[in-house]
Symmetry: C2
Subunit: 195 residues, 2 copies
DNA sequence: CGTCTATTTGAATGTACTCAAAAGCGGTGG
DNA sequence: CCACCGCTTTTGAGTACATTCAAATAGACG
């Protein structure tokens, strides 16, 4: 077993494109593994986001702190998810989101330069990232529609069935902020659901 | 002037990747131009979405008809925008959205097979679509956050400044459904804003 | 001019929010 | 082992933003 075991990432990539052994080695050479402690920030609002991260284990949440000081959760990430402030990462501009670890979390990281280098060396990776971002975009549009067409309770029920593992790892008030409702109201929804 | 003038598309692509003359010819050979009349549907909910479309002129809206029969506008598209039901197009499954022309609209269309062929022939196109979908995804996430953190009036004001051309082309009730509010309430917001 | 669709208006209603306070829960130290 | 602390969740009362419904008005088009 290697200290920098990138098998989970390679397996994941293999679902989308087929890499040669040489290409796998090249990725291994350029990706770095990093451990964050519970509470640490991978990205902070205002900084330029340096990494595109693939989560090996643990849990993160991406949130936005608005002018009035309230938090809005943009996404969570667990095992085999990607996380970053993609807008900041790709355009090298200050991040608008924070990415915080909710548990001790291990990630594999690509810097911007690394990723550009790898795109150049392994054109298949362009295809790979195109495919996963297509999926992310489709999911994001669906979330917009859900937010419009569902009541708070329906959104919560849908969230539970869609992301059962996340529901268990994450405090309730963060789920509320992911759903776009207040923690108090989510608590009332749950009370009502018990009957 | 060619009957199938794809210059607007080539110019657009040129902002992201540099194509050779041969590559441009190849695209020209495989893309088709099509004119839709006002009111026509490019995609209908339930059908498999056959085309990825680049809008040359005119205007479209993408919307979702929910179980209770109300419409939710997912996006609009004008000159130099892309439109499709991307989830349906990429996975060859029934569309969940309708794409309807709000004006006579000319588009350049790629079928799934065409696009796969072109990805294969012109790997730079993988990069191109990766880049534009990255942007679309970032915009989509921002919209989610806006919807959470802004009041209806703030969302409307933001929409006006972000998409002034669209506001002029599109009936008010569709803007309301894009913002996730009722047409009546948007009307009240506008009344209040006149003072 | 008449018809169809889009927009406006107002009254009643509802879903979700705010604020403040209490209760629960997990960890830490005396 | 209990007491205390900080953080999360629950509760309730009052409120606000936005919806629903029904009807009137305005605009576009043949």
């Amino acid at each position: 077993m290697n200290d920098k075991d990138i098998a989970p990432l390679l397996e994941y990539i293999d679902n989308y494109v087929k890499l040669t052994e040489g290409e796998k080695k090249l990725i291994e050479l350029h990706v770095s593994k990093r451990k964050y402690l519970k509470g640490q920030y991978i990205v902070q609002q205002g900084d330029i986001c340096d990494y595109e991260c693939f989560v090996i284990n643990g849990c993160t949440r991406t949130f936005y702190l608005d002018a009035s000081g309230s938090e809005h959760t943009v996404m969570f990430a667990i095992k085999n998810w990607w996380t970053s402030d993609l807008g900041s990462f790709t355009t090298r501009t200050p991040a608008i989101y924070n990415v915080q670890c909710l548990d001790n979390t291990e990630v594999l990281q690509f810097t911007y330069e690394t990723l550009e280098f790898l795109y150049d060396q392994i054109p298949k990776l362009e295809r790979f990232f195109r495919l996963i971002i297509e999926r992310a975009f489709v999911a994001s549009e669906k979330r917009i529609v859900s937010n419009f067409s569902l009541t708070a309770k329906e959104k919560y029920v849908k969230f539970q069935s869609q992301y059962p593992e996340i529901e268990q790892k994450v405090p309730q008030y963060m789920i509320a902020s992911y759903l776009g409702i207040t923690k108090e109201f989510l608590s009332k929804i749950r009370r009502e659901m018990k009957k």
